[in-house]
Symmetry: C2
Subunit: 278 residues, 2 copies
Amino acid sequence: MPLPTRNIRLTLAYDGSNYVGWQIQPNGVTVQQLVQKAISDLTGEETKLIAAGRTDSGVHALGQVANFQTSSTIPAEKFASALQSRLPEDIIARDSEEVPERFHATYSAVRKCYRYLIHHREIGLPFLRNYTWRFGNELDLHKMREAAQHIVGTHDFRCFETQYPNKATSVRTVEHLTIECQSMWNVWSAFDFENQQSKVADSDEVLCIEISADGFLYNMVRAITGTLVDVGRGRYQPDDVQRMLEEGDRSLAGPTAPAHGLYLVSVDYDMNNLRPKD
Amino acid sequence: MPLPTRNIRLTLAYDGSNYVGWQIQPNGVTVQQLVQKAISDLTGEETKLIAAGRTDSGVHALGQVANFQTSSTIPAEKFASALQSRLPEDIIARDSEEVPERFHATYSAVRKCYRYLIHHREIGLPFLRNYTWRFGNELDLHKMREAAQHIVGTHDFRCFETQYPNKATSVRTVEHLTIECQSMWNVWSAFDFENQQSKVADSDEVLCIEISADGFLYNMVRAITGTLVDVGRGRYQPDDVQRMLEEGDRSLAGPTAPAHGLYLVSVDYDMNNLRPKD
């Protein structure tokens, strides 16, 4: 009798600087490749790891979610620490648990949250070059927040999509879009943010754009960020964002912000009502 | 008639993660090599860059000082920005100025200051792996500070020197040794700390050991740090440090802390009374 197969959900944090992204590809080392290898070294099984978001080269994660099938008898909650000993220090296996068979990290996701960090400074800090987008100009936060109000809600977001059309629909619902000054430490510690929050005071170290939505188009957060920054520097007025959304033309919106300021923060699932795989 | 030669002082910050240290060597890329190349690309002259401290592989700098001779007519204060455009983002040319001919970055230094960063956390933050020493145990700061009092002052520090004897004397004067919880941002922003200080509140993000002395032996800060951490975790009592100094035996003191937690913060010179080159 074959061993029963279990579905394991992993939560991962990683520094994307040294990887060509999540998804396995021939041109360099990827996060998926190293985590899959750690799983097969541990269990002796070949497996396919499915992620909530296929982050691009240089993009970071605080709470990427992935799942894989295994017939190993290792307790589900032990996978995180067992995999950690087989992973480099820039990939952290935060947590592991058993989930129902129909849980699929990509299709079951009901909400994702990203943060984009911008760092205003004339002279760079050498330590932040891979972790924030350094922007030399002062930005008008009031205008950026005004522009952000046009983005919140259900819209056709094709003006913020690279390579449209590549999806059945480019309609998404942005549930939340905030622009706040934050401590770098708070952002980096997002995965135990509740513990840290009381200890660390407000600060204006980095500008943090946080966006959550039911789904994201390719490069959508980076295109929104590039556009909001162009509003903040006065190249567009806040109401121009309304027009971009209506016209649906990528060339009317701002540039795609660099990958290295982007963090996948968290992915939400409705575990009581898991979406089918299709 | 040959052009007059000027002596230029450079102040540099760098992330040491991708370099095999300051000094040119056959086994990898060094900071000295890239800055010298930037100077020769800019001036057309071959030159030798002399640094205050030859930082090891993985060690960072916020305020390394170096000097070089040039007969170029470029204004002294323009060198920093002209070199920056020829340097990678992990090396920052902060400042440049003309100094008297007898200024020598190494021999004229009267004081250097280093910081060592320790980060207490069971699970690592992937972004800090190259910038702090992550230590899983809680440390007793009171005992560490008590131990530090034995180190301040003029002593023979051979118990904290790797490869003794390699200097004429191992007597040095530690002027200041503090152990404080700090914001990572404050530490990283040390080079415009006065501007930042009012904005950023106290926090307990990282433990920062700051040591200034008239000179340092090889690996001295890292050996002192490893010993203070051993006091903090209870392996030694504070008074044991007194005995280590008296006995002068490296094997009696604690381990050498990893390179990647160490930062050369600043170097002081008495410009009105420059020490001769010997």
